[in-house]
């Protein structure tokens, strides 16, 4: 695939993107080779492997990886493939182990990945094979950030916080305690399901596609939020009704939708269904204001950390990994978060809300799946592929670093998607890490260009 071809597939300056990037097996193969081998990918959470010997199977791109904690408490991420003949050395989704023994020829690997057992070694391999050379393949880079675990197959990748850039502020609000203390979340469950859509439709949705609100008219009409039993409509409490919504694109390709409350804002009554739950969240809100001061005015909504990790910041609260299976299939993993030290009653209330909102049986997200399926399917046609998709919403409306770092719009906008696919193209073109971090991207020095674009 030539660079010039990629250029025409993603025409961010004119707000047009080819449907091929959601359907082409050749482009998908390029994504696996050039993008998923380099970016930081979300692989799990420390609370899934609290004790030495604990493991949890995860994925990076299409491939199975083992997330585990060794005897000394150190976290590792390994490719789940025996170095002898390739068999998966672990086929249990989770558990506690002393070693991973391959079912095929019984090579066994310690929790630090080292090859510790080879049957009949003295007779068959002595003097030839050095076990130190045949450890499980460990990721080149691994970071534990506020409980979340991330990894990259690129030894030259920048450190994780550099990669996050200014999106860190927004991701933090998902990971930090509701009362403003840093970190402190735990995963209370993980949905894993496979759906027939290109993985980027899911990632793009969470960049801050607030325009798709229409899709969720059914739950908004009947009310399924934390105050629904008290007669409040909508799919969540309207915590942001008095806040200034902001949509931000970051140089690294991330995009978020957050909101800034007025300095004098007060807690908006929410969680009305159970007074003690409401009181708990009011207290968290006030405590966060006290602890963070003006910074507490910022509240999270959704975001995508490039390329395939998304979050919901408050109602509901969790992280998603959109694992690719093929150009037309994705495995969605949804990790549900609560504060570790939240009262049991609060955790119980939240899990019920999360389940009725999220995942394949979630009343809100069912409708997202339907959109992503048919958007993917309807982009395959010979005629359909002649048409580019339109990404022209709010072109030129975003301002640089005002009021927060990044390219910021104060109206609904698709500039996060334009930025996301610009970075996506850079990965597929094999650019260096400076360019992949957006260094030199004119959008972040001069602002987004405005062109009068016609139909492609």
């Amino acid at each position: 695939m030539e660079h010039s071809n990629l250029k025409t597939l993603v025409d961010a300056d004119n707000g047009m993107i080819s449907r091929e990037i959601f359907t082409s097996p050749a482009i998908y193969k390029r994504e696996l080779e050039s993008l998923f081998t380099r970016t930081w990918l979300f692989v799990g959470h420390e609370s899934l492997i609290p004790n030495p010997g604990d493991f949890y199977l995860s994925r990076m791109g299409e491939e199975s990886v083992i997330l585990c904690r060794d005897r000394t408490g150190e976290v590792h991420v390994f490719l789940n493939s025996c170095t002898h003949r390739g068999m998966k050395v672990c086929r249990y989704d989770k558990g506690n182990a002393k070693v991973f023994t391959c079912p095929y020829h019984a090579w066994s690997f310690a929790l630090d990945g080292s090859l510790q057992g080879i049957p009949h070694f003295d007779d068959l391999y002595d003097g030839v094979l050095d076990p130190d050379d045949w450890s499980l393949l460990e990721v080149d880079r691994m970071a534990v950030y506020k409980g979340t675990i991330w990894a990259s197959w690129d030894k030259d990748a920048p450190n994780f916080e550099t990669y996050l850039g200014d999106a860190k502020l927004h991701l933090d609000m998902t990971l930090d305690c509701r009362d403003g203390r840093s970190g402190g979340s735990e995963v209370i469950g993980v949905h894993r399901w496979k759906f027939p859509a290109n993985w980027k439709f899911a990632a793009e949705n969470f960049l801050g596609d607030s325009y798709h609100n229409h899709s969720h008219g059914s739950v908004d009409a009947i009310g399924i939020g934390p105050s629904a039993r008290s007669g409040v409509k909508g799919r969540r409490d309207d915590e942001m009704r008095a806040a200034q919504h902001i949509w931000i694109s970051f140089p690294e390709g991330h995009g978020v939708h957050s909101a800034i409350e007025h300095p004098d804002a007060e807690f908006i009554d929410s969680y009305l269904d159970q007074p003690e739950i409401g009181a708990y969240f009011r207290n968290c809100y006030e405590e966060r204001r006290r602890r963070l001061g003006d910074e507490a005015q910022l509240i999270p909504f959704t975001g995508t950390i490039f390329p395939n990790t998304s979050y919901h910041g408050r109602q509901p609260r969790g992280l998603c990994a959109w694992h690719p299976h093929s150009s037309g299939e994705t495995e969605g993993w949804r990790f549900f978060l609560v504060d570790t030290d939240a009262p049991t009653a609060v955790k119980d209330f939240l899990r019920h809300y999360y389940m009725r909102y999220s995942g394949p049986a979630g009343m809100t997200e069912q409708d997202d799946m339907e959109n992503w399926l048919y958007a993917s399917a309807a982009s395959k046609g010979t005629i359909a592929k002649r048409l580019k998709l339109n990404y022209q919403q709010s072109m030129g409306a975003a301002k640089l670093n005002d009021p927060l770092p990044g390219l910021v719009a104060t109206q609904m906008s698709e500039h996060m998607a334009r930025g996301y696919y610009t970075r996506w193209r850079d990965y597929l073109e094999g650019r260096d890490w400076n360019q992949l971090l957006g260094v030199g991207d004119p959008r972040f020095s001069d602002g987004e260009p405005v062109t009068k674009a016609g139909r492609a």
Binding site: K94, G95, G189, V190, F195, S215, G217, A228, D367, E370
Partner: protein
């Protein structure tokens, strides 16, 4: 909660030779076939009448775990954490209301669904089979769903039900555990009722 949800001691019981079993089983099958007809003909409001007000209706998630591990490792446990769903009666009513809005796009146009129910076994009856007021039942389902053009899903699994006899309403389900024979769900959505 565990007493209601735990069928592990009931699974191996055989009450079939006891007096009253055949009559009660026949009654139960009629109940399940009615339930399937109501659901497959989209008579959701009538179906809701078969559910008790204190309903717990949930579908655990499953994981690949070693043979020696106990049930709580393989299945998520009702009342704790996250499942595919854990509904009370209010939530089931909300799901019906959502379909009735006509703008629930994952079910609009409506799916075409057939429930096949089989292997109905009564595994507990109180006070006894002949005068039963409370029963525990296991059964199998095969649910075929097709929508739009070729969007087709088949769910196959087991249900662990507890029903009670209420004066005036007949049998009502107050507990249903839906066990599906998949770990990673091979369906984009669960928009139907089991």
């Amino acid at each position: 909660m565990s007493a209601v949800s735990d069928f592990s001691d009931l699974i191996g019981r055989n009450l079939a030779e006891q007096p009253g079993y055949a009559a009660l089983q026949s009654q139960l099958e009629a109940f399940y076939f009615l339930e399937a007809d109501l659901l497959d003909n989209r008579r959701y409001r009538a179906w809701l009448e078969l559910l008790a007000d204190d309903l717990i209706y949930y579908m655990p998630m499953r994981a690949n775990v070693p043979l020696a591990h106990d049930r709580s490792d393989e299945f998520t446990t009702v009342g704790e954490g996250i499942h595919w769903f854990e509904n009370d009666k209010w939530t089931v009513i909300k799901r019906v209301e959502q379909i009735e809005t006509g703008i629930h796009y994952a079910e609009e146009p409506l799916s075409r669904i057939t429930h096949m129910i089989s292997n109905v076994r009564i595994v507990d009856a109180n006070p006894d089979l002949e005068t039963a007021q409370q029963i525990a039942v296991t059964n199998r389902f095969l649910l075929y769903q097709n929508r739009i053009v070729d969007d087709t899903t088949t769910f196959v699994g087991r249900r662990h039900d507890r029903l009670r006899q209420n004066a005036g309403t007949g049998w009502q389900i107050h507990f249903r555990e839906v066990i599906i024979e998949q770990g990673i769900l091979q369906a984009k959505n669960i928009t139907n009722f089991f």
